[in-house]
Amino acid sequence: MAVSEETIRKIAHLARLELTEKEVQTYSKQLTGILDYVSQLSKVDTTGVEPLVTATDMAVNFREDKVEPSLSPDDLLSNAPDRSGNLFKVPPVL
């Protein structure tokens, strides 16, 4: 299954990655190879088999609706490149 250069550009954009033309070609080849290898799995006859979401039989765990202490704003913001008061300051969005 060929992963076209156009597809590579699209998923790079969705992941906000900037690629050179050379990288686009390289990844197109590499991802095509990976998908071809994995596609062997589709040879298995899965007629009548339910799609699998997880490998275990376990169901989700719950918590009760109780409030516990949170992080302090200073701890949260300690890794932020920039802040204004207790808010994250980021490049303009709009």
């Binding site: 765990n61 949170s70 992080l71």
Partner: protein, 478 residues
């Protein structure tokens, strides 16, 4: 050409849990910036989500109230996109297997019954809040991971009015269930509308436009109205409708297209590997079913039959659970459903509206209102005196006293003593010889004048029935 609109609504309801959907941070409003956060809701590496059981209970309850099929197996999915208010780079939502499918909601539109299909309900987390300041934007993550239900309707509505009534009815159900506070101004209830138009009778839908940002109740109908007009104009000019997302601008009352780039969504949903599938047992679902209260539409129909009220009255009285409860309590005292309904609709709701109060904080309690209605019915109090007491109660006087105490303590006891009333009538007749003459020569209308004079003299405390009877006799010269 004759056009009709096709409208479907997507409603986001913030759930009234104490803590967030996947972590133990508080959901409460009014905390300082970035104070309600932890490694989970800010997407720090290695932090894992743990599902809040109350969110699932609320989702099941809402699904049952809207006649949905509750899915016993459902999964959480990641919706991937980048925006600074979304710290993980994805929103945990539900996609292919949501918790509720295939329901419906019945309500009245201009007195006629209408049923709108509910396609699905799913659970998801809210994003944080950005504010934009030109050179930079600021991010507050207090709302990040606050639990939401997304309730998607079928495209069953044809007019803005129907969409507005659907939204009101849905809000009312959510309030009855106690799962959402329904406050659109604060964003705990949000509405997006899918709008398209087609020539009347056509089977195929037109191209739909998604309206976002309808953040106030009054704007829902206006925004849809505008958008329908815009689409019809375009078609009549021979242009094509573009499938897009548009924002409603309430100041200018128009919709504006968002740049297509922002719109080029490709969410790449996939099951969230951090959360195992959610499995619901019959016992769990049945346990929640037992918590279902009587819902607004059922209650309205019951009020109409049990109390013989017009549907209009019943609809208003059942708008909120508290108001319905108020009515039922008051009726027990008054034993007069229509009289009680009239007093609530014309007097109580006016006072609450003026004072911007909820029923629960009403300055006039249900027993007091019921007693006033009863005392008028029993001829023990004139409507005028009752209204006076009501206004005093509304102004905060006599709080917590029973109407009987108030009447006694303020000398408002109705005068039924015929001697006393006769004396007043004699006085009025003597003072108005001219009118008496006219009345006796056939001008019946003057009767009201005499009643008014007598009541005025008695400061409204004369028993209306006794005054009427005696006055008639005396005027005839008996």
């Amino acid at each position: 050409m004759d056009f009709e609109a096709v409208i479907g609504l997507e409603v986001h309801a913030q759930l009234l849990t104490k803590s967030k959907i996947f972590c133990s941070c508080p959901t409460a409003f009014g905390h300082g910036d970035n104070e309600n956060v932890c490694p989970v809701c800010t997407g720090l590496p290695g932090a894992l989500p743990v599902l809040n059981k109350q969110v699932v209970d609320f989702a099941i309850l809402t699904g049952l109230a809207l006649n949905c099929k509750i899915q016993k197996h459902n999964i959480f999915a990641r919706k991937n996109y980048f925006y600074p208010d979304l710290p993980k780079g994805y929103q945990i939502s539900q996609y292919e297997e949501p918790i509720c499918l295939g329901g419906k909601l019945t309500f009245l539109v201009d007195g006629n019954e209408m049923t709108v299909g509910v396609t699905r309900i799913h659970m998801e987390e809210d994003a944080g809040k950005n504010t934009h300041h030109g050179e930079f934007s600021l991010v507050n993550l207090n709302r990040s991971s606050v639990p939401l239900l997304e309730i998607v309707s079928e495209p069953d509505m044809r007019t803005p009015k129907q969409a507005g009534e659907y939204l009101r009815a849905l809000r009312s159900v959510l309030l009855y269930l106690g799962v959402c506070d329904g406050n659109m101004d604060e964003g705990s209830l949000r509405c997006d509308a899918n709008v398209s138009v087609r020539t009347r009778g056509a089977e195929k839908f037109g191209t739909k436009v998604e309206l976002k940002n309808i953040n106030s109740f009054r704007f829902v109908e206006k925004a849809i109205e505008y958008e329908i007009g815009r689409q019809i104009d375009l078609i009549e000019q021979g242009q094509k409708i573009v499938q897009e997302t548009r924002l409603y601008d309430p100041d200018k009352n128009r919709t504006v297209g968002m740049r297509s780039k922002e719109e080029a969504h490709d969410y790449r949903y996939f099951p969230d590997p951090d959360l195992l599938p959610l499995r619901l047992s019959d016992e769990w679902i049945d346990g929640v079913r037992k918590q279902l209260p009587e819902l607004p539409y059922e209650k309205m129909n019951r009020f109409a039959t049990q109390f013989g009220l017009p549907r209009y009255d019943a609809q208003i009285l059942t708008q909120s659970r508290d108001l319905a409860q108020y009515f039922e309590t008051a009726v027990k005292r008054s034993n007069n459903p229509k009289g009680t309904s009239n007093w609530i609709m014309s007097e109580l709701l006016r006072v609450l509206n003026d004072q911007k109060k909820e029923v629960a904080d009403s300055p006039v309690n249900a027993d007091q209102l019921g007693d006033l209605v009863r005392l008028i019915d029993q001829g023990q109090m004139s409507g005028k005196i009752a209204k006076g007491i009501f206004e005093d109660l509304a102004a905060g006087k006599f709080s917590n006293k029973t109407v009987e105490q108030i009447v006694k303590e303020n000398g408002l006891v109705q005068v039924t003593d015929t001697k006393a009333i006769e004396a007043v009538i004699d006085k009025i007749i003597a003072a108005n010889a001219g009118q008496v003459e006219q009345y006796r020569s056939g001008k019946d209308k003057l009767f009201g004048f005499f009643v008014g004079q007598v009541m005025k003299e008695m400061k409204g405390q004369g028993s209306p029935t006794v005054v009427n009877d005696l006055l008639k006799k005396k005027l005839k010269g008996e």
